[in-house]
């Protein structure tokens, strides 16, 4: 297969704007500005206007034309709209009047006047022109779609010009062309044929942008040289970019002959100063189109160029409306969610529909969430790293990833089309959509891979393609291209998401600030309140004791008992205050995660029990060795202590036992390890079903405060708080009179 840089080389380098030659269907005069002295002429003046070139060189233009006509030319150069190209000019020679279309343009300090013979003295006037194009323009503007407009244009142009074949030829981003509309009386249609970018080399494109209409009446013409070949003052070849008679490249002529085309005309279609496409006209025999008809065609081309933007905007109007409404729903739903990522995940189907994708990956910080058909996480990760430097204004899109990213070939079936959107580089937020490969058939007007011939001397020679049989190439690794409106939709989406994310971040920040402040207030409040509450409490306690000490003789049993109750109540009050303080502190303390051997920790807890309650006979059952986990040692110690202490306390059996163990869950389908569920089981008094929801509430007790060894009623509340601070859950199963089992986990569960 030819290298792309080679197939364009000699063709791209050909200086087609300075051939020094013109086509023979008119004459070209080069005039020095101001004096209108003839400096150069084409070598066919004898044939067309009856004067030898040598006779004209150095003469004033008045030698050929009368003053009135010269005035017209000068007015035309000052862009006086009463006299615009073409000018009606006539010359007398040997008592014979000849009529011409005069086309004049200025180039630096010279004026180029081209004369094309006319049959008779027709006056081109604007009204005729207007009537001719009025209907066409109305039809162009009313066409509902781009393709219908193109169809109208080819019909009209063919009707006006009489060419056998008129086509609209559209360029894609890479410069390849495709026939999207055609009107012809020929047998073989060219509709849908594709042409590689090399068919129209770079500098030809440039000329198409400068000069919007080109005519070749006869491909077999003999080019006519200029005399002298270079401009006498500058000794430079004349720039014929804007000349209507400019001779074309022999390669182009050969190309036309290969196609069986004898006469051709093409009109540039422009959008945003770019060459969007061409109106191309072909004829199998020589065909001359007078200048005024060409002007009409050029005007149609201009109207069509203006309409292109409108038609493209209204193209897929329904789809765009649908996109808009999807976008709106999406953003509304997203703004309701607390976190960007959660919101995105909840809206997976909308996220896919938004750009008709079959897979999407959402990156947030270091999380990667895959929805639908996507490459593996590792593949996406590598892809994103490759994409990042190529983001253009935060967007990257390709219909054929593997073309520029060889590693993409392995997953081209599901991800040939890639559209990536950067939401935040700082937070590493990206969305990448994927589209599957679509096997498509492209009809090439000839084999696009063989435009280059290797000559016998080893050099490359660009030669026009010879075979125009339908040559089909199956293009692999392509997805349906991303439409501009889809790319626009995601770009808009980004700014909306950024808005939401920023707003959420702001809210979060201010909430955090508020929370921190209220926490600090609560914290100091808790301590101060406890201090202020405890002080009078201590006073009551101490004074009750003073009474008992100082007035022991006076007080009877009943008085002593009442004072003792008073003392006991103050003690209880202090316990409650301490529990509350401890609980409030627990919610605020930082979790200090470290690797903890739970088996050792449990042994310590049990040993402490045997020391503090040597009188109670309890059997501790530990069916399997507890694992090592990451947790806050002190807090988990307290958790086990509370649960085991309850198991011992609320037990009226003669043979008390407590079983501590864990259940290893079946691993979910995530790379995360499954969480062990720990449990503390007893054969105690159990809990009535109706009370199960109350047991974790602070200070809620199910029994009298002096039954079962009392307690403040904060133990399970603290247990739950510890579990929650670790991201886990705690729950209970119980059969009254049989016993209870408390289950808990000590880490957040994976998002399934």
């Amino acid at each position: 297969m030819a290298d792309k840089t080679i197939d364009l080389t000699n063709c791209d380098r050909e200086p087609i704007h300075i051939p020094g030659l013109i086509q023979p269907h008119g004459v070209l005069l080069v005039l020095q500005d101001f004096h209108l002295e003839i400096m150069q002429v084409s070598n066919n003046t004898r044939k067309i206007i009856g004067y030898q070139p040598e006779e004209l060189l150095g003469k004033q233009l008045s030698y050929l034309l009368d003053a009135k006509q010269i005035q017209k030319i000068q007015q035309c150069l000052t862009e006086d709209f009463e006299s615009i190209n073409p000018l009606d000019l006539s010359l007398k020679h040997s008592n014979k009047s000849m009529y011409f279309d005069g086309i004049v343009h200025r180039l630096d300090s010279v004026i180029i006047l081209e004369l094309e013979p006319k049959k008779a003295k027709q006056k081109t006037d604007f009204v005729d022109f207007y009537h001719q194009v009025k209907g066409t323009i109305t039809r162009i503007q009313k066409a509902p779609t781009l393709l219908e407009m193109c169809q109208i244009v080819v019909k009209e142009v063919r009707h006006i010009t009489g060419f056998e074949r008129v086509m609209v030829y559209r360029f894609d981003q890479e410069g390849a062309g495709c026939v999207i509309a055609e009107d012809t009386d020929q047998e073989i249609p060219y509709l849908d044929l594709h042409y590689p970018p090399s068919d129209i080399p770079k500098q030809a494109r440039h000329l198409y942008i400068l000069n919007w209409l080109r005519l070749i009446p006869d491909v077999n013409y003999q080019p006519v040289a200029l005399i002298p070949p270079n401009h006498p003052l500058t000794n430079q070849p004349l720039d014929l970019s804007l000349s209507v008679l400019r001779s074309v490249s022999p390669i182009h002529l050969e190309y036309m002959r290969n196609m069986g085309v004898t006469a051709s005309m093409s009109i540039s279609l422009m959008q945003n100063q770019q060459l969007w496409g061409l109106i191309a006209c072909h004829h199998s025999s020589p065909k001359y189109i007078p200048y005024n008809i060409r002007t009409t065609c050029e005007f149609i081309g201009q109207v069509m160029s203006v309409e292109l933007a409108n038609k493209e905007a209204s193209e897929d109007i329904d789809y765009k409306m649908q996109l808009k409404s999807l976008q709106t729903q999406f953003v509304e739903a997203l703004s309701q969610t607390k976190y960007f990522l959660d919101g995105m995940v909840q809206l997976k189907s909308q996220l896919l529909n938004l750009v008709k994708a079959t897979g999407v990956v959402i990156y947030s910080s270091n999380q990667c969430i895959q929805i639908g058909e996507t490459p593996s996480e590792a593949e996406v990760h590598a892809l994103l790293n490759w994409i990042k430097p190529q983001l253009d204004q935060g967007v990257f899109e390709t219909p054929s990833l593997s073309k520029n990213y060889p590693d993409g070939a392995s997953f081209s079936a599901i991800a040939s089309g890639v559209l990536a959107l950067e939401i935040s580089r700082v937070h590493h937020n990206y969305i990448i959509w994927f589209r599957p490969e679509v096997i498509q058939t492209v009809n090439w007007g000839g084999n696009p891979h063989k435009p280059v011939e290797v000559l016998s001397d080893g050099s490359f020679q660009m030669s026009p393609r010879k075979s125009f049989e339908l040559w089909q190439e199956t293009v692999r690794g392509y997805a349906l291209p991303w439409k501009l409106c889809e790319i626009t939709a995601v770009t808009e989406l980004r700014s909306l998401i950024v808005g939401i994310v920023l707003r959420q971040a702001d809210e979060l920040a201010s909430m955090n600030f508020e929370l921190q402040r209220s926490n600090e207030e609560l914290d100091s409040f808790a301590y101060i309140a406890s201090h202020d509450l405890k002080e009078p409490l201590r006073g009551i306690h101490n004074y009750a004791n003073f009474l008992m000490e100082d007035y022991a003789e006076i007080l009877n049993q009943d008085g002593i008992a009442k004072l003792q109750t008073l003392v006991r109540l103050t003690q209880r009050m202090e316990d409650l205050i301490n529990s509350l303080l401890h609980f409030s502190r627990l919610g605020r303390a930082e979790i200090m995660r470290q690797t903890v051997n739970l088996q050792d920790l449990l042994q310590q807890v049990i040993n402490t029990f045997s020391i503090t309650r040597p009188q109670s006979e309890i059997e501790f059952r530990i069916p399997q060795t507890l694992p090592k986990i990451e947790c806050d040692r002190a807090q988990v110690n307290e958790l086990f202590t509370n649960l085991i202490s309850n198991a011992i306390k609320y037990n009226d059996k003669a043979q008390k036992w407590v079983e501590i163990g864990y259940i290893q869950q079946e691993p979910p389908n995530t790379p995360l390890t499954a969480l062990p569920i720990f449990y503390v089981r007893d054969n105690g008094i159990g809990i009535l079903e109706k009370h199960l929801d109350k047991i974790f509430q602070i200070f809620r007790r199910l029994h009298g405060r002096d039954e079962f060894g009392g307690g403040t009623g904060a133990g399970l509340t603290i247990a739950r708080k510890i579990v929650e601070r670790h991201g886990g859950r705690i729950w209970v199963e119980s059969t009254p009179t049989q016993g209870s089992t408390f289950y808990f986990t000590l880490a957040p569960e994976a998002i399934a």
């Binding site: 301590y527 201090h531 405890k534 002080e535 009078p536 003073f546 003690q571």
Partner: protein, 157 residues
Amino acid sequence: MNLTSTSPIPKIPLLLIVEDSNEDFEALHRLLQRSPMKISIQRCVNGEQALAFLYRTGNYRDREISLMPGLIVLDLNLPGTDGREVLRQIKQDDHLKIVPVVVFTTSNNPKDIEDCYRYGVNSYIVKPINFEQLKRDIQTLIRYWFEVTKLPEHLEY
């Protein structure tokens, strides 16, 4: 029979108690009275007063006693200049810093405990509610600081 006749007559140590609560002071005073040691007690009810006493300013300008207290028992939550500030000033003063300070407070806030030790407190005791416990704590405090511990001699201004 006193074998250490050559030694000077032991001075009665002065105990400075900074405590705003009358009931708490009452309890403290009651239990100190029971101590076999003769201890003279000076009470201040807030931080300003305590600092004025220590620096012999204001009402204490003409204080006779030229000795510094042998021990300061300090509550933290005081009206006005609180105990933390009093502690900080004492321990930053080259002269006063040698006087042992025992914080005796309701606060069991870990931050308070840590801060006080950072300022250089010699001991931190949380006031118990339980009367028996309070008795034990006061006894231990007196015995430790006035019998077990050797304090610097002649703490003079």
